[in-house]
Symmetry: C2
Subunit: 338 residues, 2 copies
Amino acid sequence: MLPRENRQVLLKTRPAGIPQAEHFEIVSRPLPELAQGELLVRNAYLSVEPAMRGWVNSAANYSTPVGLGEVMRGFSAGEVVASRHPGFEEGDLVMGMLGWQEYALTDGKAIRRKVKERDLPLSLSLGVLGINGITAWFALSEVGEPRPGDTVVVSTAAGAVGSAVGQIAKIAGCRTVGIAGGPAKAQLCVEAFGYDIALDYKSATFERDLAAALPGGADVYYDNTAGAISDAVLQHINKGARIVVCGTASVANWEPWPHGPRVERHLLNKAARMQGFLVWDYEHRYEEAVTRLAGWVRDGRLRYREEIVEGIEQAPGSIASLYRGENHGKRLIQLTHR
Amino acid sequence: MLPRENRQVLLKTRPAGIPQAEHFEIVSRPLPELAQGELLVRNAYLSVEPAMRGWVNSAANYSTPVGLGEVMRGFSAGEVVASRHPGFEEGDLVMGMLGWQEYALTDGKAIRRKVKERDLPLSLSLGVLGINGITAWFALSEVGEPRPGDTVVVSTAAGAVGSAVGQIAKIAGCRTVGIAGGPAKAQLCVEAFGYDIALDYKSATFERDLAAALPGGADVYYDNTAGAISDAVLQHINKGARIVVCGTASVANWEPWPHGPRVERHLLNKAARMQGFLVWDYEHRYEEAVTRLAGWVRDGRLRYREEIVEGIEQAPGSIASLYRGENHGKRLIQLTHR
């Protein structure tokens, strides 16, 4: 029996900066019949990403913003509960741009991958085996290009992406320096994610601690924050350093456009590289990343933390919570128990 | 008969920003005897480079600063007039870090290359066939990676490096947009150096002109200036754009460190790359560049402008003159007529 109603999180008003709970509303809508070529996914988990801020802002971005009144764009993972699509059958586990809603009706284009790792929790397909882990793998290996013996600095080091970056860098034979907000997260970096050193950027001695942690400089800086943290790290980059620009979490608003110390002289003096990363550019290679990551999860070399909250009503306030740094693991909204 | 005396330009005091004439002094010193393994070069031309600002400043840089009382570091080209070095003989033409002086005594390490293009003026070995042309070639081809059909934007487009960049980009099948200071230099860009469009950044309509010149955006930005020009160009970069950071001519002083609009969002949204270039990293490949460049000079596809002034007493004020934008071609100091 297919359900009649589908609860959805819609974008109600457009935020100027970080989206808050009041920018969304939850509605219940009738679920249309499946047409030929369509499938219906029952979402088990909704993912919460820092990048969602950009998806709902009207400022220039890499994608067109979510329209007002539209279902909030987002990754979800779930089970195919009905299919009139030749590529999918009931019981398939899938992950994709299925939106913040209980059920997603799609012609298949929204599906990013079938989840083949049925021995591992489905939730991982949204975190360490999903966009976060995939981002960590491609951004670090293809843009950061770590070499054994390199020192790799990571900001938001305890986060869903950062925690994977640090561990992959260790596997690659690097020394890792994590930067996180507060002593508890710094401790998590070292104890849970194997960072060689972790620093609290909120500490009054942060700049001094950073200098002490980088006696030989930084070869790779995996930047999830921009802002003052990046300005500090840039002063320690080595000749030929690679700076991976993966996120700008510390910048609350791009209107008006924030200013900071110019980067040109650092890049010139060190013949260094600063490069933006968009995981969409690697969509055709996701399996390659997941195969590798799943292997490391299975043999215990890649650890992860999840922070799962229950019920779709938790979704609207969850992005702002991320930006307040309240999460201690990959933030997911759980909708069903399978 | 070898000379007894050698006039030299010494760094007298250390400038905070752009070096002026008063930071140097000209002295005459006795020339020592040649020891075994040494050679003596009579400098015919001294080169004047924007990068010299960095060489005399004490701020963090890619090389140790020139010491007070030392001969000003600089490229020169000349003729070997005596040699007790097995690798050089009288009459060889050479280019190297021979300093701002009439004669350079060296064990050979200061020589960057023997000038083999004896059919072309020796002065070119300091410009279009020297560090400027070599820089243009490697920075554009290895960092900028232009592809046929790309739009390439160049700042200081009429300068010794920029003029070569624009022409090499045309040879590579690109559309070229030059940015220069003043209508005369903009005209030079189009008429002498073949730019498709040239813009005067001093014009009140510069930002509008730039938008109009880039209806399809910029794929490569060859940046010799940093500052407001770069901030404007960054707003027009395309997906996957490459920004070559080759110079920071518009920044008069790095103490205190200047601020500007943050670049991270541009790089992230466009998965773009910003990379510093140091020509020293390509020293082992200079011949590869010069062979190519000389061929294009001979067949008329690579044009150049020189602005040659006579006499070593012109050297001290020449760097400041470059930064005032007074030159209309590669600035050289001529010491001999060969």
